[in-house]
Amino acid sequence: MDRGLNMVNEATSRRNREGASSTGRPGLLTLINSYFVRHAQTLFYSLGQLLRAPFSMLMTAAVIGIALALPAGMHQLLQNAQLLSGKLDDATQISLFLKKAVTEQQARELTHKLGNMPEIGRVRLITREQALEEFKQNAGFGDALRALDENPLPHVIVINPALQHTDAAAGRKLLERLQGMIQVDAAQLDVEWIKRLYAILEIIKRGVWILAALLGMAVLLVVGNTIRLAIQNRRDEIVVIKLIGGTDAFIRRPFLYTGFWYGLFGALIAFTLVNIALYLLSDPVRQLGELYHNPVSLTRMNLETSAYLLGAGILLGLGGSWLAVGRHLRDIEPR
């Protein structure tokens, strides 16, 4: 008991001195220093707590993972669809029908000028003579044309917009510009269905965002509910900690980190699921491409998308636990 009394004596002399530094009570620097250490400790403590019951942890993480994988996977497919439709830019042609008065020489000059415009990828001039030849050979009414003493066809310039200007809005703008030129009689965007495809993709894109928002909310609720149960399970502990002077922040911290881990593991599961799905789809897609003599392959999630997925998972995990902690910690008070 003697050594024990020493400790108590120390307590007395501390009170007599009233000094802060000599008490062993942490100084400011130590506090700041230990702040980060403690955060790291709590982070891994909460991981350790989760890994004590790996099965139920995985169950929750899997639910989160599936909820994240759905919008992430659809986003990835959409990206692929857009890449694919980008390859269809050959089909987005603009035909410029020049005015009758434009000579072949002028038409060639215009073709050259258009070819230098940045919005325009490739240009090809079909002179009225060439057009007539084609007509005679292909259309089958060569005789009727021969009966005319004058060639009724105009010069036509066929334009493929540059790759980065293949979307519907840019195509429409280019078309308007070309229509405004004095040599031009009419300009026509050849393939309307591309526009429709873009419109459909736009709707799907919006749909994916709505789906992502809904499933994000589901993740918030799943994490929130899991943390709520964790809080209830550790009610006694929370009471004790409040009783001996633990701040709300101190009590909150392990639960927030638990939410962090759920979000992180959920996102990793989602990442794995999406990549497995892409792998499973890659063969049939390649075969489809071969049918169209167009080599296509599904692209995997790039670094940016993966980072967004991880970030979204972690934020939702933290957010869900924040909601639960805010709602339920206050109710637990020592009595």
């Binding site: 004790v240 409040k242 009783l243």
Partner: protein, 226 residues
């Protein structure tokens, strides 16, 4: 150290657990709060620990008017107090060491300092060899002593104990009371709620006697030879 001035506590439902209580306890003093069950002993301790707020009157602890302490500041206030309960409130999924270390972890002590202090506190209550055990493997008396070690490990100015010997046999109870006395002898203010009248008489210490929420005797006039 503790001053009640015309303090009353009425619980929701209209029951007056304490009415118009006034008394004063000096720093380093030890006192018992006695009275039969329902007299208001626990309520009195709860007012001091800010587990409850008085409905009227005021409570001063260490010169601080508790009515001025906001909810946010309560944790920091409680770090100056050690609290011991009849049902000792240990965390059963942690070792004895971790239980006792909790107040120090909360206050942000360094690891080395925590080790040193926890061992000193356990030594004080005679449990030095049991740091790595889990509370469930200890006897009732030992568990209560772990609770005491946790209450004193951060060297509080004030020790509150609510029926600390309620579940213990007379010998163990006596031992616990003597540990409290040792603390008071080195300057810790100790307030123990108990209805173990025989043991209290034996302790020859000031008694604050409650009767149905009223102060029957604050014991301040009595001199005890020690």
């Amino acid at each position: 150290m503790i001053r009640f001035t015309q303090t009353s506590k009425r619980y929701e439902g209209g029951y007056d657990a304490l009415s118009n209580i006034s008394f004063h306890i000096e720093p380093g003093e030890m006192a018992f709060v006695t009275g039969h069950s329902g007299a208001g002993k626990s309520t009195l301790l709860k007012l001091i620990a800010l587990l409850e707020r008085p409905t009227r009157g005021q409570v001063l602890v260490n010169g601080q008017n508790l009515s001025r302490i906001k909810r946010r500041q309560i944790p920091y206030f409680r770090r100056n107090i050690g609290i011991i309960f009849q049902d000792h409130q240990l965390l059963f999924d942690r070792t004895v060491f971790d239980n006792v270390a909790l107040p120090l972890i909360i206050a942000g002590y360094t690891r080395a300092e925590i080790g040193r202090r926890v061992r000193a506190a356990l030594d004080k209550v005679g449990l030095l060899g049991k740091e790595k055990k889990y509370p469930i493997t200890l006897s009732g008396g030992e568990q209560q002593r772990v609770g005491i070690a946790r209450a004193v490990v951060h060297k509080p100015l004030l020790l509150l104990a609510d029926e600390p010997t309620g579940n213990l046999d007379p010998d163990l109870s006596r031992e616990i009371m003597h540990i409290f006395r040792e603390f008071s002898q080195v300057g810790v203010t100790v307030l123990v709620a108990s209805h173990d009248l025989e043991l209290i008489r034996e302790m020859q210490t000031r008694q604050i006697i409650l009767h149905q929420g009223q102060l029957a005797d604050d014991g301040s006039g009595v001199e005890y030879g020690q």
